[in-house]
C-alpha cells in the first residue's frame, strides 16, 4: 500500500509569535521554522505502517516555497522514502493546498493519505477534509489509532465525550490527533541518509490548478491583553476575593 503524507513548514511551536507593527501579518523573518507537529506525527504513523510491512512506500508532499524542502528532509529523516515539493510563493489557503494535493493524489494513486489535523500557524483544520471531498474519499479525522487488516482501515477518532471507531475502505484519508503516536527522535545517521533520498520539485503552475482565493486578510492584530492580576497570600484570602470581589463562587 502506497501512503502519501502531507507536511507543512510552520513557525516552530516554541517561538513566541509577534504581530508585525504594520498589521500585515506575523513576524516570520529569522524565526525558527519546523515541520508542523501534527505532520510529524503523520509521517511517523506512515513509517510505522511501513515497518509493519503494510505500507510499501511513504511519500511526503509539501506545498510552498523552496525552503519547504527542509521540511521534506525532516520527513525523509523520520523514514519517508521520497519527497515531492509543489513549489509556489506566497501564502496558500487550505482549499488551494487541497487542490494541489489532489493533483498529486491523482498522479501517485496512494491507498492512504495522512494529513495533520491542523496546521499550528493558521489553526484552520480544513485541508484533509477538503482533500477527501475533492477526491470523493472516505475520511477519518482526529485519529488516535490506525489499524489495517484485510484491506480495511480501522481508525479510532477523538470526539467530544469520548472516541469512536470507523472502518474505511481504502483509498481513504486520515488526519492525526496528537495522541496517535510520539514521533521518534531523528538520529544523525538518518539525517545523513535523508540527504540522499530524492525530492521531486513540481512548479504549482504546471498542475493546472486554480489556487486563487476569495479570502482576504484585512489585518492581523495583537489579542486584547488581560488586565494585570494580583497575588494573594493564602487560601482564605483567595476564597474571600472570589466571594466578595468577583462573586464567582
Amino acid at each position: 500500500m502506497k501512503v502519501l503524507v502531507s507536511v507543512k513548514r510552520v513557525v516552530d511551536h516554541n517561538v513566541t509569535v509577534r504581530v508585525k507593527a504594520d498589521g500585515s501579518g506575523v513576524e516570520t523573518a529569522n524565526v525558527k521554522m519546523s515541520i508542523n507537529p501534527f505532520d510529524e506525527i503523520a509521517v511517523e504513523a506512515a513509517v510505522r505502517l511501513k515497518e509493519a510491512g503494510i505500507a510499501t512506500e511513504v511519500i511526503a508532499v509539501s506545498c510552498g516555497s523552496s525552503q519547504s524542502q527542509e521540511t521534506l528532509r525532516t520527513a525523509l529523516a523520520i523514514g519517508a522514502d521520497r519527497g515531492i515539493l509543489v513549489e509556489c510563493e506566497g501564502e496558500l489557503q487550505p482549499l488551494a493546498v487541497a487542490k494541489l494535493l489532489k493533483a498529486i493524489v491523482e498522479k501517485e494513486q496512494p491507498q492512504l493519505i495522512i494529513a495533520g489535523k491542523q496546521a499550528i500557524d493558521d489553526d484552520c483544520s480544513q485541508t484533509g477534509q477538503m482533500l477527501a471531498a475533492l477526491c470523493d474519499l472516505p475520511q477519518a479525522t482526529f485519529a488516535s489509532k490506525i489499524e489495517y487488516q484485510n484491506n480495511l482501515l480501522t481508525v479510532t477518532r477523538e470526539v467530544d465525550g469520548g472516541s469512536e471507531t470507523l472502518e474505511l475502505v481504502p483509498p481513504a484519508i486520515v488526519t492525526t490527533d496528537l495522541r496517535l503516536n510520539e514521533p521518534r527522535y531523528v538520529t544523525l545517521p538518518s539525517i545523513v541518509k535523508a540527504k540522499k533520498k530524492p525530492i521531486d520539485v513540481i512548479p504549482a503552475n504546471s498542475l493546472d490548478v486554480d489556487i486563487a482565493t476569495n479570502l482576504e486578510v484585512l489585518k492581523v492584530s495583537e489579542p486584547p491583553a488581560r488586565k494585570p492580576g494580583v497575588k494573594v497570600g493564602d487560601v482564605n484570602a483567595l476564597i474571600q476575593k472570589l466571594k466578595s470581589e468577583v462573586n464567582v463562587i
Partner: protein, 310 residues
C-alpha cells in the same frame, strides 16, 4: 440573505453551545434556518424551533445520519446549500469534520473558528494559538464558517416555535462505516458550557492525586474538570478534558489552573475566561501573567485547604 446552521444534537435536544452558534448566525444574517439531521431526532428539531431568531427548522431523518458520518451530513447540507448566504457549524470535532467537505464541494474557502462577526462578510479569528487575531473578508458567494462558541453570547429561547419542515434525506454511497462509539460517562457539567472549570496539570503528579486532591474541589464548586495536555498524556485525566489549542476552548466565569505552567498552547484554550485563578509553586510560572488571582504554593497543601474552606 439567509444563514443555515448545522445542528449538533443528541437526538432529543441541541447541544447547549448551539445557542451561541445561532447567535453568530443571527449576527451574519437577518434570517436563520437550522438543519437537524439524524435518526429519530424530531425532539431536537423541536428544541431548535424554539430558539430566538430561528425562522425555520429543516429536519432530515434517515438511518444514514445516525452515526454522524461527515460524508452523509455534508451531502445533506450541499443538497440545500443553494438558498443560503452563510453556512455555520460549531468549531467542535463535529463541525470541523463536516464543514470543510461542504466548503470544498462549493469551491469556497472556509473561515475557521470565528470569534467575532464584523459584518456579513468580515470576521475575526485567532491564529497561532491565539497569539494574533486575523480580520478576514470573504468574497465567496456562500460563506462557510465554524464558530468558536465561547466568543458569542447564547441566543435566548422564544415563546413561539418556528415551523419544522422535512428535508428529503439524501443518500450517498460512502466507504466509511461507524463501528462503535465509546462515551465517557460523567456526572459533571459539560466542560465547554460549565460556569466553573477546575483544571489540573503535570503538577498533580499522579492520577490518584488528580482524583483525590483536584476532583473534590471541582465537586464542591459544581465545576467541570479540565486538564493540560501534559496531564492528559501522563494519564492523570481523560483525553476529553484537554483544554487548549488542540483540545477544547473554554471561557467559564471562573477557571482555576492548578499545577499548570501556562504554555501558549494551554492559554489558547482558556484565556478568555472571566476570572482566572492560578495555583503554582513556581512564582515565575507564565500562568501568573494572565491570572487575576495568583497563589504561590504547593498544591498538595493548597487544594485540601481550598476544598475545606468553601
Amino acid at each position: 440573505m439567509v444563514a443555515l446552521v448545522i445542528a449538533e444534537h443528541n437526538d432529543s435536544a441541541l447541544r447547549p453551545t448551539m445557542l451561541n452558534v445561532i447567535a453568530a448566525a443571527a449576527a451574519c444574517s437577518g434570517e436563520v434556518h437550522v438543519l437537524v439531521a439524524g435518526e429519530g431526532c424530531a425532539a431536537a428539531a423541536q428544541d431548535a424551533a424554539t430558539v430566538e431568531g430561528v425562522s425555520k427548522v429543516l429536519l432530515a431523518e434517515g438511518a444514514q445520519f445516525a452515526g454522524g458520518l461527515a460524508e452523509n451530513i455534508a451531502a445533506q447540507v450541499l443538497a440545500i446549500s443553494g438558498e443560503y448566504s452563510h453556512i455555520l457549524a460549531p468549531a467542535t470535532p463535529f463541525g470541523k469534520n463536516i464543514l470543510p467537505r461542504v466548503a470544498a464541494k462549493l469551491d469556497v474557502s472556509q473561515v475557521s473558528e470565528i470569534t467575532r462577526v464584523v459584518s456579513a462578510d468580515t470576521f475575526e479569528r485567532p491564529i497561532y494559538a491565539g497569539s494574533a487575531i486575523a480580520t478576514v473578508r470573504s468574497k465567496d458567494a456562500i460563506k462557510v464558517i465554524t464558530v468558536r462558541t465561547t466568543s458569542f453570547a447564547a441566543q435566548g429561547k422564544s415563546a413561539a416555535a418556528a415551523p419544522i419542515e422535512a428535508s428529503a434525506p439524501i443518500s450517498v454511497s460512502t466507504r466509511a462505516r461507524l463501528v462503535s462509539k465509546e462515551s465517557l460517562a460523567t456526572d459533571r457539567p459539560d466542560l465547554t458550557a460549565a460556569k466553573i472549570v477546575v483544571a489540573g496539570g503535570r503538577g498533580l503528579a499522579s492520577r490518584e492525586n488528580f482524583e483525590q486532591q483536584l476532583a473534590p474541589l471541582a465537586t464542591k464548586l459544581h465545576a467541570a474538570v479540565g486538564a493540560s495536555r501534559a496531564a492528559v498524556d501522563a494519564g492523570y485525566a481523560a483525553n476529553d478534558c484537554q483544554v487548549g489549542q488542540t483540545g477544547k476552548v473554554v471561557a467559564p466565569q471562573l477557571y482555576i489552573a492548578v499545577g499548570i505552567s501556562g504554555a501558549i498552547q494551554h492559554l489558547a484554550g482558556m484565556k478568555d475566561s472571566k476570572v482566572i485563578v492560578a495555583i503554582n509553586k513556581d512564582p515565575d510560572a507564565p500562568i501568573f501573567s494572565i491570572a487575576d488571582y495568583g497563589l504561590v504554593g504547593d498544591l498538595n497543601e493548597v487544594l485540601p485547604q481550598f476544598t475545606a474552606g468553601l
